[in-house]
Symmetry: C2
Subunit: 355 residues, 2 copies
């Protein structure tokens, strides 16, 4: 029987309380699917800064290295906002984790469950029947890590650099994803201005030849920022570099109006990956038992699929979430009059029961 | 009496027909305000590619140099899309114009006239009472023009570089704009990842000390892309570098739902500037007499204010547009049942008459 080791990094804010619910749902998966998970917790983010003086302690990295996947909560909060930007919990934990573990492929679904169309800031007619877009973002290259990067007198600079091989492997992730979806990839670039993006367009076009069943469109990033707002359902898979993907995945997430619902996966070559909610640590509601645990629970579901190959178990969790929504249960962030308002714990329990 | 010279670059697609209406409104301004404008036309964009083999012929640059301002239409279309991205009409005309004339400050208002709230893709409650945001974008620096930029083997790269003085002068434009508006500046950066953006944040913070009456907030670009969708009215002046400003100004423009209404100004030090609609050349409707000329007309209005100091004449045009909208007249792009649908020519005539 399958026996997987999971590094559990709950982090700050609502991280610990929503993580508890994700672990509860994983326990239900163990029972139903006859698998076992060994979970080990470690400090990360602000909690780690407080306890170890760094957002990503060596012990935490070691634990991740011994594990088959990382289930990540969320990090950051007002307590650490006085620190220089590069030492803050988010930056200080996420960037080194991505680089250390080669997590080059970030998958961020922007899903509007049909039950939650009203939560979107968009007019309802633009989302009729829901929305299902995934942003595939390159996560270990581009201007985030390019060198040289620094200061010289009164100037400061960063380098946006892409190697053909980096573009190729992230493009393949996007085309593979499109194959199991609606077979459309929109590749984002700024080839009219940036040399690196001319190469991006070239390589993506080459990779597309191996996927004749998938339709490829190229779109400038500024136009994409418009089109997402104008007609989000025109997209299936959005493929983008690190910086453009950062911006567009957040824009797409907000279009759903329910950040508390959105999971994400950051994948290495092979089966290792880090899974985390798209939203933040929400310090304002932390500890009150009202946070929506669904993003964390669906992040665990993505882990089952992408790192452990348990596609059925993943689907079972998504179905369980939909079933609980169908019954009218909502946490505060997605509730409206007439819904049954429940807390973090009850939402987790109900989903676990359905699994 | 004032006598100004205007280089008129109508360009492609709907450019010529909406430009005709802007010139008509300028003629009305001449009459009412006792000023004279000398207008000279020159080729630009696709039309220039066809006639001179380049999107920005020397003659056109020379004319602009002898003029007090450039009134620009729009460029581009399917006919020239087979060209390499860097030779295409938009890229080939706009970037050299910006650099040659030092047009470092791009002002792009995202205005929702209260009469047109329904055109927005956002829920009406998010725009109650309209929207009035302006994006102040740095236009001659950053990753657009930074060097080195090129290819080396299987790699391609661009450089994002900012000099303290470039940040300072664009920040001053933003703070000055805020002073005559709602006294809030949101400065966009990615200081948690980019060294150039750490400098950006530093310099903007310094400049803010000279404007104690203006409230400054710093916001990461990914968060800004979200906040624009979530609650656009939280913004007054958005200050951003070239690339981030490109993306966010387009996103903000689309939130209004009426691109055909939005003007823009690109200013040099001193009084020279280029004025153009925010939307594109709309080749699909070109030549049909149905295009909305308001963006072009309001671009001329911005020229009167920023290059000629004719604030009253600028205001007269904005008022004329509002009056015509109040009477229920609409071009197709902003019409809905019950409105009086009119064409490009009639819209221009009615606005000119009100002036
Ligand atoms: C915290 C920050 C460094 C990070 C990024 O920009 O990648 C975050 O915005 C994200 O998208 O995960
Ligand atoms: C055409 C292109 C080079 C240009 C830009 O990126 O600046 C355009 O998108 C704009 O915003 O004016």
């Amino acid at each position: 029987a399958m026996n997987k080791r999971i590094a559990v990094l709950a982090g700050d804010g609502i991280g610990p309380e929503v993580m508890e619910q994700a672990l509860r749902v994983l326990a239900a998966v163990e029972q139903r699917f006859g698998v076992t998970f060994k979970t080990d917790a470690a400090d990360v983010g602000g909690a780690a800064l407080d306890n170890h003086g760094t957002a990503l302690p060596r012990e935490t990295v070691d634990l991740c290295r011994e594990s088959d996947a990382i289930l990540f909560g969320s990090v950051g909060g007002p307590k650490w906002e006085h620190l220089p930007p590069e030492e803050q919990p988010e930056r200080g934990a996420l960037l080194p984790l991505r680089k250390t573990f080669g997590l080059f492929a970030n998958l961020r679904p922007a899903i509007v469950f049909p039950q939650l169309v009203h939560a979107s800031p968009l007019r309802e007619d633009l989302l009729e029947g829901g929305l299902d877009v995934v942003v595939v973002r390159e996560l270990t290259g581009g201007i985030y890590f390019g060198t040289p990067k620094g200061r010289e007198g009164d100037k400061a600079f960063d380098t946006l650099v892409y190697h053909r091989s980096e573009i190729e492997r992230i493009a393949r992730v996007a085309f593979e994803a499109a194959r199991s979806r609606n077979k459309r990839v929109t590749s984002i670039d700024k080839a009219n201005v940036l040399t690196s993006m001319v190469l991006w367009r070239e390589v993506v076009t080459e990779v597309a030849r191996d996927y004749p069943d998938v339709e490829l469109t190229h779109m400038y990033v500024d136009n994409a920022a418009m089109q997402l707002v104008r007609e989000p359902r025109q997209f299936d898979v959005i493929l983008a570099g690190n910086m453009f993907g950062d911006i567009l995945s957040d824009e797409a997430a907000m279009l759903t109006g329910s950040l508390g619902m959105l999971p994400s996966a950051s994948l290495a070559e092979g089966s290792f990956g880090l899974y985390e909610p798209s939203g933040g640590s929400a310090p304002d509601i932390a500890g009150k038992g009202v946070a929506n645990p669904i993003a964390q629970i669906l992040s665990a579901a993505m882990m089952l699929k992408y790192s452990f190959g348990l596609d059925q178990a993943c689907q079972a969790i998504f179905d369980a979430v939909a079933a609980v929504l169908d019954e009218g249960y909502r946490t505060g962030d997605i509730a409206r009059p007439g819904d049954t308002l429940i807390g973090t714990d009850e939402m987790g329990r109900r989903i676990a029961e359905k699994v």
